[in-house]
Symmetry: C2
Subunit: 287 residues, 2 copies
């Protein structure tokens, strides 16, 4: 399966040529505004949590409710600008789409990815623009850390500056983010296989970890149980920065909205790396 890796990871690039620069710029600009709209709502809630435990639990606004508000703001902004696009959101499912007709453009939204009671500021909003089934723009925004990463047409920017992944010479030097090793059996397996073979391990990175990978700050992200809402934005961000992203067997990650069976039963297993050699080594360890 590794033999097909180089092909599969480049397969998005042709697709992006179907859109003009002007169209692309407009979509990226709207994606950026969309995560800003979400970020404003999330940040307000995050900073207000300070004394939530002084009042009765009934008064605590849940993160789910905040995510729903954020998603509503995002959808409203997208459909106002692009009334013929469809939106698939974690909180609301399909909007502006009559199954089984898949519109040319689908926006996939995860308003609050990686929050567990908002404990640590390592969560963010993830947005993907999918064109004819290919994710062509990805945007990950951490409103707390004020870092917005956008991947589009072969380049990835971080707060406006172009960034690139940074390769490591040996696996034992790699900085690796493994999402919470206690989360499920897959995560434990990845942790046990990798923890002692790599340089440093980090945890709980969620979508933010992929934007750190794109900026050269770590070399590998290993993830499991990823939902399509969070998955699709990762691809343009990692690939645009020169990185490699695939499933744990090295296969291209793909998602088709219908039928639902295109999503693996336990979610996607994702691995992203700064360079091909590291990626192949990680896949060898995980397979």
């Amino acid at each position: 399966m590794l033999t097909g890796l180089s092909d599969s990871i480049t397969s998005n690039k042709e697709e992006t040529l179907l859109l003009s620069d002007t169209e692309f710029d407009r979509l990226a600009d709207i994606a950026s505004k969309t995560v800003d709209a979400s970020g404003e709502i999330i940040l307000r809630h995050y900073l207000a949590r300070g004394n939530v435990y002084n009042v009765s639990d009934a008064n605590i606004q849940s993160w789910t409710s905040v995510a729903a508000q954020a998603e509503k703001a995002m959808i409203s902004l997208i459909l106002k600008e692009l009334p013929d696009h469809a939106v698939y959101g974690k909180q609301t499912g399909w909007n502006n789409c009559i199954e089984p007709t898949i519109p040319e453009f689908v926006w996939v939204l995860d308003p609050v990815n990686g929050v567990t009671d908002g404990l640590l500021p390592t969560f963010g909003t993830s947005v993907a623009v999918v064109h004819n089934g290919k994710p062509v723009i990805g945007c990950i925004n951490n409103p707390v850390a004020q870092i917005k990463t956008i991947g589009r047409r072969g380049k990835t920017t971080r707060n406006g500056d172009v960034v690139r992944t940074r390769a490591c010479e040996h696996l034992e030097q790699a900085y690796v983010d493994i999402n919470d090793p206690d989360y499920n059996e897959d995560a434990k397996y990845a942790y046990n296989r990798l923890a002692y073979k790599v340089g440093e391990t980090f945890f709980n990175g969620n979508c933010i970890a992929y934007s750190e990978l794109a900026a050269g700050m770590l070399q590998v992200v290993v993830d499991s149980a990823v939902e399509p809402f969070a998955l699709l934005g990762l691809i343009p961000i990692v690939e645009g920065a020169g990185g490699i992203i695939s499933d744990w067997q090295g296969n291209q990650l793909s998602w088709r909205p219908f039928p639902a069976s295109s999503v693996p039963r336990d979610g996607f297993k994702v691995v992203a790396s700064a360079d091909l050699t590291t990626h192949q080594q990680i896949i060898f360890e995980l397979s």
Copy 2:
């Protein structure tokens, strides 16, 4: 050793009565301004990291250099307001102190606690005001997340609001932060003993994890290899919020500046809990 626990954890309270409310308010105010001065420098660096890997490594300002700048700003502020106080900082060691005379007041500073290449925004500045050998004020500030926690005279505030720890009924419900399980043998041991007995595990919390404990967002923090620079601010914050903090055997944490042997060879092993029952259970598991 557990039998002495209730005594040891209350022993700071008498000490704080030796200072008037006015003196206390002034010290807390200066502590708050001190972390702000540090936070401004740290935040500027954190946000500027975006394109650091596009330039040669030689141009990257290291976190150590940023920490040194932040510490300098803090010391300058403290000594201007309080010229007879001593300062013991992670970057510069002793300032305004002639060994072996220990001044009545010692400020202990860790300008950037918990950064590993600034990867995730889970680091902060930690400050303690030590009066006659007792930490009476603690301040932890996360400049990225804009959360400042201050523990003083039996109360802890988070961005100005009084907060309290939140107990859990059973250990298997507890949210537990274990600092990076791969960090050293002690951390691995703690992870192996606790991971499957508690509700949820979090990692990489560093000083921020203690402020989340004080605000009721998690129930236990287990830490190892803690330096005195980071240790002392934790005590007023955890105790002021109603929590318990000790070493892994349940002994009171104490630090005396001279002789240096008062610091354990591998640093302090620290455990903090929301309530005494949970604390005793955790210590039983770790002992």
